[in-house]
């Protein structure tokens, strides 16, 4: 009897504890966000053959987002161990031919053969805004965020600069600036290393109903923004018209950045300069797929545990 009571008390206790946790995690808010998040995400179409490489978009991005750029304090606090890299772009703000904390968009050049003629194609490159962004989902504590419109950004007030987002990004997009951000207030010697920066899709402009600066500034209307489904339709219509190719629809399980090119992307990828701050145009498998599949399989774990416990009970009572 004693054990009966204690078991009942224990179950009650666990339920109460679980209730506290659920309330504490803001599940009600999360559920609300889940419902509101059902909106169709935004995507952009980039018509590569229209781009003339004038870099107006790059300059517009730098102008509009200048206030968000890091202003690091120097000298930087010493970091341990000594091999932790200091990444300082604050004296190289003018660099425009790659991604940096001060340059979230740049133009890639590709010399390719198009209809038998040697042609230069220019490709605006920035964060792809993945549909299920590893940078956001795997950020250890929510500094990288995905907005309800599907676009992602890194909160400079929260980021500690551990660069995990860059490590898990299939295009290694985010770039670090040492000497800024929250880590300075915590244990700068032992943890953190600045803040990660990347295209934030001009989220503050979008919130006000404005268009991202790079889209607005382009004299050739290279980019179109709209609901992802419509953008995909447009992309496929365009690809059909020009006998072209689509990139970004299935990469990393789907992105919100859809490129259409008159030449195949493996040719473009071979022709562009790649490396630090210069993302590739390779095919990318869905990096989050294993986790997604495993989480479905995880649902079986409690059922299996239940079945095992009752199975054992059943066998025992049969023995008796």
């Amino acid at each position: 009897m004693r054990s009966q009571i204690s078991r009942r008390a224990f179950i009650k206790g666990s339920i109460a504890a679980a209730g506290t946790v659920v309330a504490g995690t803001g599940i009600a808010k999360a559920a609300d966000a889940l419902v509101n998040g059902k909106k169709e995400p935004l995507a952009t179409l980039l018509d590569i053959q229209k781009c003339i490489g004038c870099e107006e978009c790059v300059r517009a991005c730098r102008d509009v987002n200048a206030a968000k750029y890091p202003e690091p304090e120097k000298p930087f606090p010493k970091m341990y161990p000594k091999t932790v890299p200091v990444q300082d772009w604050s004296d190289k703000r003018e660099v425009m031919d790659r991604l940096t904390p001060y340059n979230w968009l740049y133009i890639q050049h590709a010399f390719v053969s198009l209809n038998g003629r040697e042609t230069e194609l220019t490709i605006p490159r920035r964060c792809m805004h993945c549909a299920n962004p590893p940078c956001v989902k795997l950020c250890p504590w929510g500094a990288a965020k995905q907005e309800k419109n599907g676009l992602s950004r890194i909160d400079a007030d929260l980021c500690l600069g551990g660069s995990k987002c860059k490590a898990v990004c299939p295009w290694s997009i985010p770039e670090r600036q040492t000497g800024v951000g929250l880590y300075l207030e915590l244990m700068p010697a032992l943890a953190g290393n600045g803040v990660m920066y990347k295209c934030d899709r001009c989220y503050n402009r979008l919130e006000k109903g404005e268009t991202p600066a790079c889209i607005e500034a382009c004299p050739e209307n290279v980019q179109t923004i709209g609901p992802r489904r419509e953008i995909l339709e447009q992309a496929h219509t365009l690809a059909k018209e020009i006998n072209g190719y689509v990139y970004g629809e299935h990469e990393n399980g789907g992105t919100h950045t859809i490129y259409v090119s008159p030449v195949p992307f493996d040719q473009l990828n071979a022709a562009i300069e790649k490396g630090k701050g210069k993302p590739h145009l390779d095919r990318v498998e869905n990096m989050m797929a294993d986790g997604t599949n495993l989480s479905r399989a995880m649902l079986i774990a409690p059922l299996a545990g239940l079945a095992a416990a009752f199975g054992k009970f059943y066998l025992k009572s049969k023995e008796k």
Binding site: R2, S3, S6, R7, F10, I11, G13, S14, A17, A18, V21, V22, G24, T25, G26, K29, A30, D32, A33, L34, N36, G37, P81, V84, A131, N132, L138, P140, W141, G142, Q146, K148, G150, G162, S163, K164, A167, V168, A191, G253, M287, M288, D290, G291, T292, L294, S295, A297, M298, I300, A301, P302, A304, G305, A308, A309, F310, K312, F313, K316
Partner: protein, 148 residues
């Protein structure tokens, strides 16, 4: 019966070890502090590997927790009662499973949760983890068992 309890303890210990290791692997510390440079431990610096290992060991923990719980509910433990520290650990594990489960849901495609809720969730999970480690250390040192 005794050996069965021992097997459970070893499995629990192994899961706790793997889940803690892979959990800490979610933070970019193993590479910074050379732990991932130790031969054979390079995978600790690979975030997708530790992510999958964390999920897999979480599935193991959930299985074990549900099994032990219902085994106790339907069969009892020979008239034994759960100790105070046992209750505490159970509460913490329940918290870990619930907060972790929510984090798994958060990571699914098409889930856009409130930013603050995500931060609270991440910190709650970390808090439960630290609490479990401390209480487990206490029960290990002072030889406190789950039931008495």
């Amino acid at each position: 019966m005794k050996s069965k309890g021992k097997t459970r303890s070893y499995i629990y210990g192994l899961i706790l070890f793997l889940i803690t290791l892979s959990g800490f692997g979610q933070m970019p510390i193993f590479s910074r502090y050379y732990i991932a440079s130790i031969p054979g431990l390079g995978w600790l610096g690979e975030f997708y590997t530790t992510h999958i290992l964390h999920y897999a060991s979480a599935a193991g923990l959930i299985f074990l927790a549900v099994y032990v719980l219902f085994d106790f509910v339907v069969q009892g433990a020979g008239g034994k009662r759960i100790t105070g520290s046992g209750y505490l650990k159970m509460g913490i594990i329940a918290g870990l499973i619930i907060s972790g489960g929510l984090m798994v849901v958060k990571n699914l495609p098409g889930i856009y949760w409130d930013h603050t809720a995500v931060i609270v969730l991440d910190l709650t999970h970390l808090g439960f983890c630290m609490a479990l480690l401390m209480v487990s250390l206490y029960t290990l040192i002072f030889k406190k068992s789950w039931v008495k």
